[in-house]
Amino acid sequence: MTPYLLVAPPVLLLAALVIYPLVYNVVLSLRNYRTGEFVGLHNFARAFDDPLFFASLRATGVYVSWALATEILLGLALALLVHRTIRSGWARTLIYVLFFIPMVTPPVVAGVIARLMYSPNYGVINVALAKLGLIDTEILWLSEPGTAMFAVLSVDVWQWMPFVFLVCFAGLQSVPMDTVEAARVDGAGGWRLFRHVELPYLRSLLMLVVVFRFTDTFRVFDHVQVLTGGGPGASTEFLSLYLYRIAFKFFNLSYAAALSLFVLAVASVAFAVLGRYLGKEVGE
């Protein structure tokens, strides 16, 4: 009896603060927000004729795939590099701290920092590129769709490649020494050692990283809001930013609620994947 009595208050709280709002969202999505009348699936049907929604979906797709690919490849490569070449304990601690700090910086501040780096009149990136002789006219990073996408992506990679690195580095250190030694004696070096000995140990951690990074890039909001606000045009208006605009600029909460159920469905799939592949690590 007691265990159920103890978990009752948290369960009730979550019912009130999570389940109720989600149900409320479904109700919202079936209405016309202004008049309050029931409109059935109209808000869902509307999404199919909304070019801005599809533009936002495409931008999110671009963002998620570039961020995931870059962060995972760089993070993994860096973990291997440090694992193979840096032996001294204090150097490793220093590297740890170096990559730890950006990861725990609030995303809004990361956006502010990027603003200080990319902006046309105060940014240093243009100055550095000009000094190196790579450009001779200023790049207006935040005013062109392509470079603006690059800028918001660069912030994500800057902040979260370290997370991939730290997870992979910890994973590499958990590979048993004698397994590595045995492989070396058998003549496995470099790539083969990684492919056949270390990668199998990392596989489930990499899946975990993919799910976490997918979840967070798919919902990205904070630093984009500060850096580009979704612009120029709608080129960096990712799903969270688009829903924000519909709900809180146009005050069409019903349409936003309908779209948010789509976002929820995608996030649920990510969570289901996590449960399936990582039963051991997180299911227990």
Binding site: L14, P21, V167, T215, L253
Partner: protein, 274 residues
């Protein structure tokens, strides 16, 4: 190979440290530096005036107070509620399916996109007259700190041997008494680590604060930082000063608890030595 490693790391050190250098030095520059192009790499003189004009002139101390209240609220409630889940599932006899279901349900909150919650929540609290109130932020921060708090506490509880409480129970102490006099003191460092991580995560939260508050009465510090980024005229040194204050809090706290951070963020899948 080793040289490659050192060169790559040196380059990365620049990529990672220079942006912080640029923010912090921007925060201590006098206005004159912003009329030069390109801006000098070292500040022409060091002044703390941007900090005082943000914190006092723009009243950001109020936002600091709001953030403290919201985050401490999330810490206290998050740990208390997390414990109400973590204790029974680790210490009391429950069916494994119940334990797994409950823990996974809590974990699923980590994957719930905030925009999905904030849309209905906005309408609900507006109808309740709780828009622009710190209380609604405390509630949401508590809920969204639960996956971390619960899973961390569960991890720590699993490390404390059952025998410790059993001895007290045999001596005639009630479960409640054993919890408070035997288990809790054992968990003190764990509670501190959980509190620090919960606090820092709530501190960095942006979307809820951005949408559910309107005035300095209830805005949190990151909302103030974002408000200094305007489309037309940015006052660079003030924006950088606010950003520096916003960043320094979680960085210092989490450096202090860094042993636990990656483990907490991956819900125990990564065990750390560093």
């Amino acid at each position: 190979m080793r040289t490659v490693g050192v060169v790559v790391l040196a380059l990365l050190a620049v990529v990672y440290l220079f942006p912080f250098y640029w923010m912090v030095t921007t925060a201590v520059r006098p206005l004159a530096d912003f009329y030069q192009f390109p801006a000098p790499i070292f500040p022409s003189e060091v002044t703390l005036e941007p900090f005082s004009s943000v914190m006092i002139g723009r009243q950001f101390v109020t936002l600091l107070r709001n953030s403290l209240i919201a985050c401490l609220g999330a810490v206290v409630f998050g740990i208390a509620i997390g414990m109400l889940i973590a204790y029974p599932v680790t210490r009391l006899p429950v069916p494994p399916a119940f334990r797994r279901g409950l823990l996974n349900w809590i974990l699923s909150l980590r994957f719930l996109p905030p925009i999905v919650v904030v849309i209905p929540f906005f309408d609900i609290i507006r109808r309740l007259g709780l828009y622009d109130a710190l209380g609604s932020l405390v509630l949401l921060y508590t809920v969204f700190s639960l996956p971390f708090a619960t899973w961390m506490l569960r991890g720590f509880l699993l490390e404390v041997p059952l025998e410790i409480e059993e001895a007290a129970l045999i001596d005639g102490a009630s479960r409640l008494r054993a919890f408070f006099t035997v288990l809790l003191p054992q968990l003190a460092p764990a509670l501190l680590a959980t509190a620090v991580i919960t606090f820092a995560l709530a501190w960095s939260e942006f979307m809820f604060g951005f949408i559910l508050t309107a005035t300095q009465r209830s805005q949190t510090f990151p909302i103030g930082v974002a408000s200094l980024v305007t489309q037309f005229q940015i006052i660079w040194n003030e924006m950088a000063a606010a950003g520096t204050v916003a960043a320094i809090v979680p960085i210092l706290l989490l450096l202090f608890a860094r042993r636990y951070v990656v483990t907490a963020l991956t819900f125990g899948a990564v065990r750390e030595k560093a």
